[in-house]
C-alpha cells in the first residue's frame, strides 16, 4: 500500500453522471410502453366509505385498469406490522386500499392505471366515492381524553402503545434530590421532503415469471422479501432495484406504501411496465412523517447540580397507523439522558393514534425530540441553580474513563441494552466553549444591545446511537479482464457517497485506485443478503462487512501472487493495481492474478494463456482446484454489530433577534462532533452540514400544519417553508475521532448527527437573547417570528 485512502478527502466516483444529468432516477427509466398509475385519495381525515363507483372512470379513454379493495385479491389486507413489540396491543396498520373506512386525508382508496399520467389523473377525478365523515381530534393531548373521537374503535383513549423503561433506582433518587426542575417541551411534526418524491415502477416477464421492481427505496432487500412473501412467489423470481434515489431521510425506508404493492400487481396483471411517480402534494398527504412529541421532563438534582434522577413522560403522535412499531419513541426514550451520567431514569411514553399521515422515522428518529427535552431542561436547571450552562453540563458528563457506560434497563431500538461505548465528552465541550468564544460573548452582547439587536448564545449536547444491526454483507470480486474490483452490498444509497467510501475501504486493502473499485448497491439481482439504509448504519455495518471481505480477498491475492512470482507471501506488496515483490521491479497485475486463479480450458487473451491447463504456471499434480478451493479472487463476508455504537457532539450558536422585524439571524454556528474514525472527512462534513440544515429547518421553519378537520393546510413547497441557501448559515465544524472498540474500522454513524441538537441550540440561544422580555423559554419548535413577536410585544405592553 503506497498511500492510504481511508481518512482522506477522496472525491466522489458518482458525481460526474449526476452532474451531467445522466443519473437514473425511477422516472428517468425508459420502459417501453409504460403505463402510469394515479390514486384516488381520501379527502376526509376519518370517514365511512358508503360506496365507490368506478364505472364512468373505467370507460374513459386510455384507462387500462382500476383497482379498488374488491379486485386486488390477497392484497386486500392490513399491511404488515414491520417491527412488533409487546407494548402494542393489536397494532393497527393500513390496508393496501381502503375498505369501509378511511383514517387520514390522503389515504389511498382507488388506483387508476392509464396510458399516461394525465389520463390517469383525469380518470381518478371521475371515480365517485361517497363518504360519511366522522368527528376527529388531531391534537394529541386532547385525543387521549375520555370523550375524544376514536381513530380506531379498538383503541380506547387512542393509545397505540404504552411503555415504561427504568434504569437504576429512580424512586429513591427522586426522594433524595435537593432540587427538582420540571418542564414541558413540544416538538412539531415535520416531513423528510426528499427532492425526489417516492416512486416505483415494475415489469413482469411472463416467459420467465420474473418480476422486476424499481423502487426509490432505502430498503430494496426488504421490499424484495416483502413482495415475494405477499405475492407468494420465490424470492429469486423478484428482483428489486433501487437505482439513483433522490434523497430519503427515512421516509423511504418504510415498506410497503400501497403503491409498492399495487404497481407490481398491475404490472403482473397487465403484462406491461407500470410506474407511479408520487407528486409533491401526495408526498405531503400520504408519505410518512415524523417528529410530534410532547415531553414532561423532570430533573432531580443535588444543590450543586449533580443530576441523580430523570423522569420523563411523553406523548408520541404515531398518526393513523403504527406499521413501524415503537421505533421512534423507543429511540427517544433511550436517548433521553443524553451524554450525562444520570444513573436513575424513569421514562414512559404513550404513542397516540391521530387521523393523520402515518408516522415512521425521519432523519433523527426521536433523537431531536429527546435532545430538545433534556437540553432545554439542563438549561433550566442551570438557571434555577445559578450555575453556568457549560458548567452544569460539565458536572454531569460521562468521563472518558467511565466508558463503556451502560444504562441498564433501557432497551434500544435494536432490541439490545443501551451502552455508550466510547467518547471524549469533556474535550468536546471544552472545544466548543473555546470556538464559540464564550469569554468575549458578554461584550458582544452588550455592544449589539446598544444597536437595538439582541444577541444570545445557544448550547446543546447530543448523543446518537448508530450502526444498528442485525447485519450487512459484502461481496468482492477482482475482475480478471480489467483488474477492476467489483463490490456489492445489500443496502442502498440516497446521496451518501457509499460508492466512494466503500471503495476507499477496499482500495486500501487491495492496493488499487479508488476509481477502480466499482460498487453495486441496492440491487437484489447483484447481491441479496442484508437489511437496509437507516439509523446511520451504512458506513458502520456495510463498511465493516466490506472491510472484512477485502481482508479475505487480499489474502487470496497475496497467496496467488506469491505462487506466480515464486516468492514467500510476506514478500508480496499490493499497490497500483499490481502485486509486487518487495524491493524489486517484479510484479504481476491483479487482472493477471485473477485470471490465473481461475483454471481455464480456453485461452481468450494473453493472461488467460497462463491459466489454461497446459500452461506451465498452472501445472499441478492433482485437480485444478484443490478440495475446498474456489476459483478467482472473490469473497463474501458479513458484519453483525454486537450493539449500537454511540456518536455524540455539541453545538453552539450565536443568534441575533431584530426587535422590529422579530427575525432571527444565526450570526455564528459551530459544532464539535465525533463519529469515530472518519473514512472520508469531506463526506462526513457533507452529512453533518445537511443534517444541520434540516435541523435549522425544524427549529425555525418547518411544520406540517393540520386544520381542525385533519387537512394538511400547507401541503406544498410554498406554504411548508423549506429553507433556501438564504436561510442556512455557515457552520464551523470541528472533528474529534474516538474510535469505537465495537468494530474493526472504529467507525460510528454520522448520517443523522447534524439534525439532532440544532433546535435545542437555537431555542437555548433565543432564550438567552430575549431574557429581558419576561424571560421567555422557547420550549416548542419551530420558533417563528410570530412567536418572537408575541414575546416581545406582550413583554413591552405588560
Amino acid at each position: 500500500m503506497s498511500t492510504r485512502s481511508f481518512g482522506t478527502r477522496v472525491k466522489r466516483n458518482v458525481d460526474p453522471k449526476l452532474l451531467k444529468g445522466e443519473g437514473s432516477f425511477i422516472d428517468d427509466l425508459d420502459l417501453p410502453g409504460v403505463l402510469h398509475a394515479a390514486f384516488v385519495r381520501s379527502p376526509f381525515a376519518r370517514a365511512k366509505i358508503k360506496s365507490v363507483d368506478t364505472d364512468y372512470a373505467r370507460s374513459m379513454d386510455g384507462v387500462m385498469a382500476i383497482y379498488t379493495c374488491d379486485n386486488i385479491g390477497n392484497l386486500d389486507m392490513e399491511l404488515p406490522l414491520l417491527i412488533p413489540h409487546d407494548c402494542m396491543n393489536d397494532a393497527r396498520t393500513q390496508r393496501t386500499l381502503a375498505r369501509d373506512d378511511v383514517y387520514h386525508v390522503g389515504q389511498a382508496v382507488v388506483m387508476v392505471v392509464a396510458i399516461n399520467r394525465y389520463l390517469a389523473e383525469d380518470a381518478a377525478l371521475m371515480v365517485d366515492v361517497d363518504y360519511e365523515p366522522m368527528d376527529v381530534e388531531v391534537d394529541i393531548e386532547k385525543a387521549i381524553l375520555p370523550d375524544a373521537p376514536l381513530v380506531h374503535p379498538t383503541h380506547p383513549g387512542n393509545i397505540a402503545a404504552d411503555l415504561t423503561q427504568i434504569s437504576g433506582d429512580p424512586e429513591s433518587a427522586f426522594a433524595r434530590a435537593e432540587h427538582v426542575t420540571k418542564i414541558r417541551v413540544e416538538v412539531e411534526r415535520s416531513t423528510a421532503a426528499p427532492m425526489e418524491t417516492r416512486s416505483v415502477a415494475a415489469y413482469y416477464d411472463k416467459i420467465s415469471g420474473a418480476l422486476t421492481v424499481w423502487d426509490g427505496t432505502q430498503a430494496p432487500l426488504t421490499v424484495r422479501g416483502g413482495l415475494a412473501s405477499i405475492f407468494e412467489i420465490d424470492e429469486d423470481k423478484v428482483r428489486v432495484i433501487a437505482p439513483d434515489v433522490g434523497g430519503g431521510f427515512g421516509q423511504k425506508v418504510m415498506f410497503p406504501h400501497p403503491d409498492e404493492l399495487l404497481v407490481p400487481l398491475a404490472a403482473m396483471e397487465l403484462g406491461l411496465p407500470v410506474k407511479y411517480i408520487e407528486d409533491r402534494r401526495e408526498n405531503f398527504i400520504s408519505s410518512n412523517q415524523e417528529r410530534k412529541q410532547i415531553h414532561h421532563i423532570e430533573l432531580y438534582a443535588t444543590k450543586d447540580g449533580d443530576v441523580i434522577g430523570l423522569k420523563d413522560f411523553f406523548l408520541h403522535d404515531t398518526g393513523a397507523f403504527i406499521p413501524y412499531g415503537i421505533a421512534i419513541a423507543q429511540v427517544a426514550s433511550t436517548s433521553i439522558a443524553g451524554p450525562y451520567r444520570i444513573p436513575n431514569i424513569h421514562v414512559q411514553f404513550q404513542a397516540v393514534y391521530t387521523p393523520t399521515v402515518t408516522i415512521t422515522p425521519y432523519r433523527g428518529c426521536g433523537r431531536p425530540q429527546a435532545c430538545f427535552a433534556i437540553e432545554r431542561a439542563m438549561d433550566q436547571l442551570a438557571e434555577e441553580l445559578g450555575i453556568d450552562r457549560f458548567e452544569i453540563r460539565r458536572r454531569n458528563l460521562i468521563s472518558d474513563d467511565q466508558f463503556p457506560y451502560p444504562r441498564e434497563g433501557l432497551i434500544f431500538a435494536d432490541g439490545l441494552p443501551v451502552t455508550m461505548d466510547s467518547g471524549q465528552y469533556f474535550k468536546a465541550l471544552d472545544l466548543i466553549e473555546e470556538k464559540i468564544d464564550v469569554r468575549n460573548f458578554p461584550k458582544m452582547q452588550e455592544e449589539a444591545r446598544s444597536q437595538g439587536k439582541y444577541l444570545g448564545l445557544g448550547l446543546a449536547y447530543y448523543v446518537e446511537g448508530t450502526g444498528l444491526g442485525p447485519y450487512e454483507g459484502g461481496h468482492i470480486k477482482i475482475h480478471p479482464i480489467t483488474g477492476k474490483v467489483y463490490v456489492n452490498t445489500g443496502l442502498s444509497g440516497q446521496g451518501q457517497g457509499h460508492d466512494t467510501v466503500f471503495a476507499q475501504i477496499v482500495a486500501d486493502q487491495l492496493g488499487v485506485n479508488v476509481e477502480d473499485v466499482i460498487l453495486t448497491e441496492g440491487d437484489s439481482g447483484a447481491y441479496d443478503w442484508g437489511v437496509a439504509t437507516f439509523a446511520s448504519r451504512a458506513a458502520v455495518v456495510s463498511g465493516n462487512a466490506i472491510h472484512k471481505t477485502a481482508l479475505i480477498v487480499r489474502k487470496k491475492t497475496i497467496k496467488a501472487a506469491a505462487n506466480m512470482l515464486e516468492v514467500d507471501e510476506d514478500q508480496i506488496e499490493l499497490r497500483d493495481g499490481h502485486a509486487w515483490v518487495s524491493n524489486s521491479n517484479r510484479s504481476v497485475s491483479l487482472a493477471a492474478v485473477a485470471t490465473a486463479t481461475n483454471p481455464l480450458r480456453y485461452a481468450f487473451n494473453e493472461a488467460a494463456k497462463a491459466a489454461t491447463q497446459f500452461a506451465p504456471a498452472s501445472r499441478h499434480d492433482g485437480p485444478a482446484l484443490d478440495e475446498g478451493q474456489a476459483p478467482g479472487l472473490e469473497a463474501t463476508d458479513y458484519y453483525s454489530p454486537p450493539a449500537a455504537t454511540w456518536a455524540y457532539g455539541v453545538h453552539a450558536a450565536i443568534v441575533e433577534v431584530d426587535e422590529i422585524t422579530c427575525e432571527t439571524k444565526i450570526k455564528k454556528y459551530a459544532l464539535v462532533h465525533d463519529c469515530g474514525n472518519m473514512i472520508n472527512p469531506t463526506i462526513v462534513e457533507g452529512q453533518v452540514m445537511g443534517g444541520v440544515a434540516q435541523g435549522i429547518a425544524g427549529a425555525m421553519y418547518e411544520k406540517v400544519e393540520f386544520d381542525d378537520d385533519g387537512n394538511i393546510s400547507n401541503a406544498n413547497f410554498v406554504d411548508f417553508v423549506i429553507p433556501y441557501a438564504t436561510e442556512i448559515p455557515k457552520v464551523e465544524m470541528y472533528h474529534l475521532e474516538t474510535p469505537t472498540p465495537l468494530n474493526p474500522l472504529g467507525v460510528k454513524g454520522v448520517g443523522e448527527a447534524g439534525c439532532i441538537a440544532t433546535a435545542a441550540t437555537i431555542a437555548s440561544g433565543l432564550t438567552d437573547a430575549l431574557r429581558e422580555f419576561g424571560n421567555p423559554k422557547f420550549r416548542s419548535t419551530p420558533i417563528t417570528p410570530s412567536m418572537i413577536h408575541e414575546v416581545i410585544s406582550s413583554s413591552s405592553s405588560g
Binding site: 472525491k11 466522489r12 458518482v14 458525481d15 460526474p16 449526476l18 452532474l19 451531467k20 444529468g21 445522466e22 443519473g23 432516477f25 422516472d27 428517468d28 425508459d30 410502453g33 379513454d61 386510455g62 396510458i115 399516461n116 394525465y118 389520463l119 423528510a192 421532503a193 426528499p194 427532492m195 425526489e196 418524491t197 439513483d244 434515489v245 433522490g246 434523497g247 431521510f249 407528486d279 409533491r280 440516497q494 446521496g495 451518501q496 457517497g497 469531506t682 463526506i683 462534513e685 457533507g686 452540514m689 445537511g690 443534517g691 444541520v692 440544515a693 434540516q694 406544498n716 413547497f717 410554498v718 423549506i722 433556501y724 441557501a725 438564504t726 442556512i728 455557515k730 457552520v731 447534524g754
Partner: protein, 175 residues
C-alpha cells in the same frame, strides 16, 4: 450528449398542437398535447431526463432550464408555450468530449451534491447567471441570493456556495 428521442408516444393525446423549437442546438418539431407541461415534454417526449421535477409548482427549481438565455422553470410552462424558443437543458452543459464544464467541475471538487436530484437545476440556474452577468458577486451573501431559487435537501448549501465561488473565480480569471 444524450440523443434526443423521436418516437410516437402515448403522451400525444387529446387536442394537440405543433411546436417547433431549438433544443440544445438541434431543431425539433413535434405535435404535442396542449395540456402537456414543458417539463414532461423535455423528459418524456425528448428523452432528456436530466431535467428533474421536484414540486411541480415552481418553488424548488429542480426543473430549471435555460430558455432564450434565461433560467426558467419548465414545470410551470406548457410545451405549447415553447414554440419558437431556444431551449437548453443540463445535457448541453458538459463539453463535447464528455468532460465537465467548469461549474460542474467545481461542484465535483467542492462536494456540492449528494443525491444529485436538485443538481441539474442548480447548474442551469448558475450557468445562466454566469452568462448574463459580467461580474458575479462572490461574497457569501451574493452567492446565497444567486442560488436562492433552488432547494437542496441534502447539502445544507455550504458546499454549493463554495462551488459557485470557485467556478466564478476561475471563469472570471479566464475572461
Amino acid at each position: 450528449m444524450k440523443m434526443i428521442r423521436n418516437l410516437p408516444s402515448a403522451n400525444s393525446f387529446g387536442q394537440t398542437s405543433k411546436v417547433s423549437l431549438t433544443v440544445n442546438g438541434t431543431n425539433v418539431e413535434k405535435e404535442v398535447s396542449v395540456r402537456m407541461l414543458l417539463s414532461d415534454f423535455i423528459r418524456h417526449e425528448l428523452g432528456l431526463t436530466g431535467t428533474h421535477v421536484g414540486c411541480e409548482h415552481g418553488i424548488c427549481g429542480a426543473c430549471t432550464v435555460i430558455i432564450d438565455g434565461k433560467s426558467s422553470r419548465s414545470c410551470t410552462l406548457l410545451a405549447v408555450q415553447a414554440d419558437g424558443i431556444d431551449l437548453r437543458t443540463i445535457e448541453s452543459v458538459a463539453n463535447k468530449d464528455g468532460s465537465l464544464h467548469p461549474i460542474q467541475e467545481a461542484f465535483h471538487e467542492c462536494h456540492a451534491l449528494q443525491c444529485g436530484y436538485c443538481t441539474p437545476g442548480f447548474i442551469m440556474n448558475i450557468v445562466s447567471e454566469f452568462e448574463n452577468n459580467e461580474k458575479i458577486d462572490t461574497t457569501d451573501e451574493g452567492i446565497r441570493e444567486l442560488i436562492a431559487g433552488n432547494l437542496c435537501r441534502c447539502t445544507g448549501y455550504a458546499n454549493i456556495i463554495e462551488a459557485v465561488r470557485d467556478a466564478a473565480e476561475k471563469l472570471q480569471k479566464k475572461r
